[in-house]
Symmetry: C2
Subunit: 133 residues, 2 copies
DNA sequence: GCAGTGACTTTAAATATGTAAGTAACACGT
DNA sequence: ACGTGTTACTTACATATTTAAAGTCACTGC
């Protein structure tokens, strides 16, 4: 009835605030998403490689997170062969630039959570994925 | 009944892996926890100040997160007056050292998410909470 | 032709989150 | 003394997300 616009309070999916922390958490704020980014930074590229990580991500969560990261422009999916068809995921610049966020977490954790790797140990792991002894 | 120990597979609350990213996410990996830490870094100290933040944290979530952060040794709760009784939350060293994690998120968000503050803008906000015009 | 692999999807149950209302202790004004 | 307001929460319940487990589909290698 009334011509008064019903002041649409929150277009769903909209940012919570102009704060970068809040916006980052809107996208990456859960227990799994950044672990996928970590795996990619370490050199993993395929669905099954992500599944083999020690944290044991549930397969449906992995599929959904890969979809979201792709939609957010943080990763790209490419088919690297037919017959059988196989896919590789890679980080975009936007994804690679999350490196400092993960590094600061590693530094913090190493200082306050016993048993976690140092930044140096993590750096030494980069690219060592799937290289068999 | 049976004496056979039911092989308790996972002592709940145990780390998922030795990776600092995973351990950090076990503690802080959700949409709200780091926003409370952010508010504390900005100078907020009371329950109602946290509630007034633009993201609008639900009150039960806020209470639960404050409890968890306290148990994790990231914040401390102190009564700063009786009659009426009032509480202030403060960061411990462990909590203050999350600064670099939040800063790297702000930098990333400012580069890739339109409309988010720069690190400089955020730094200028520190301590400006509750100062009325 | 059949077990095995990679990359997922589907289903149901457990858990977490969001929304709203309620509680308790106290201060302030009338 | 009473009603209103503030701070700091708790409780109840509906909804959404996560988890575990099993299933699908294309294909390969034996």
């Amino acid at each position: 009835m009334s011509g008064a616009s019903p002041e649409r309070e929150k277009p769903p999916g909209c940012k919570r605030s102009a704060c970068g922390v809040a916006s980052t958490l809107d996208l990456l704020g859960d227990k799994w998403t950044l672990l996928v980014v970590r795996d990619l930074l370490l050199g993993k590229r395929t669905y099954s490689e992500f599944q083999k990580s020690p944290e044991g991500i549930p397969t449906n969560i992995l599929a959904e997170r890969l979809r979201r990261l792709q939609q957010a422009g943080i990763i790209e999916k490419m088919q690297y062969q037919d017959r059988p068809v196989r896919y590789a995921y890679t980080l975009t610049d936007k994804g690679r630039d999350l490196g400092p966020v993960l590094r600061s977490m590693v530094v913090w954790a190493n200082k306050y959570i016993p048993g976690t790797f140092t930044l140096e140990e993590v750096d030494a792991m980069i690219g060592q994925v799937g290289r068999d002894a």
